[in-house]
Amino acid sequence: MKKHIIFTLSIVLIAFASCAYYDNNDYFLEQSVFVEDSENPGLPEYSEWGYNTFGAYIDRQAFVSTSHDMPAKIIIYPDTLNLILTGEKNGLKTVLKFSFIGYSPKEYINLVELDGDTIDLTDRNKCIITYTESNNSVVELAPFNGDFIFNRVQNLYVMRIMC
């Protein structure tokens, strides 16, 4: 099944989502800040400020992060970085997973090396995309074009302490 995806992602949430696992975690900073994009109704506006949100149109429906699910998780297998986005589409829990093959940062801090990187989504040797809907059916997506661009990956500091 091919799905044409228009995807926007607040990349800084990659570094930010891990904030919960550090001593400087803060309940309110871990929460999501959803500011709707006026040009893309239903999606959050683009931000690089650690707002813990994501959004995409899948088949014209908005797939967005929620206030109760962890929006993004990073799980690293020996040689693969798995970016797991959990949200809702049409009121149903939906998961979109990007598996970036060949990316295996040793430390959390090494994620900033992804800053500015572009990954071709059509190359299965570099990226595998799986899509899970509420009925738990897992579908591997094979886009005919598209790139995953890490516009910005950065460290987040609160009171001079890195999250």
């Binding site: 800084v12 803060d26 309110f28 900073l29 929460q31 999501s32 800040v33 959803f34 500011v35 690089e48 400020w49 650690g50 707002y51 929620t66 206030s67 900033v112 800053d115 990956v153 950065q154 460290n155 987040l156 500091y157 609160v158 009171m159 001079r160």
Partner: protein, 265 residues
Amino acid sequence: MKEVKTLLLCILCISFVATKAQQNEQLFANEKKAVRVNLVFEIGPEFLSGTFNSEKWPVRRDIGYNSSYSSSYVQTEISAFYAGAKSEFVFWDGRSSVATGLRYGFTSSDILQSNSYSNYFYLRYDSNGSDTKYARVKGMSERYDMLAVPLEFKWAPIHFSNFNIYLKAGFEFNFRISSKVEIDFVNESMEADEEFIFDYVGGVETKSFYARPYAGFGMNYEGKNGHGVAFDVLFSNYFSDNNFALIIPDAYTGIQFSYYMPLSK
């Protein structure tokens, strides 16, 4: 005969001059009654409404996902007060006046967290290359002191007994004496970064001068000795840009209490 004609001519001239002098004196006396000058002392609070300047200050905006989710956002509290003195030139049998003088006033703004679950919010103070930095802030405050020169016109269409009900319109020209912005950090060690934060947001300097028009109505009571008291309600909804660093004002309502005494009758 020639001497008689000269004498008659002299008498005629003297009479003419004397009459003219008498007319001028009466005219001057009337003019003195047409215009009075009062010294007015005034005081009053202003109720300023405005919004937080979120375009300038990058506060991490916490807005709920849906309309039923209570929003936790910053709230603004603004207070203003002034006192002054002015000269009031009263004419048209006391029904109209023009006044100008000097006022001292201040405006105080506070930005606070509106969420009852937390007593701080996040203020982004740096974003460059590989780092974005936030500070936990309990609140921000701004104090703006000024000297103002008002120029007012007043017209009292309603008069009964010793009372006048009048309409007022004017301009106020405000000159900044001092202004100060302060950030109250959760961690006092962040105070060393306060100036850096001000630079990051483009500075906290505001206009040293601004003018605003206003209008209103009021009532005064005047005793037989010319002394009186007045109560005014004033409105304005025009402000020029960059008058304050923290807030964008949109309207103000003022209450004015004044006491006046005649300087001339």
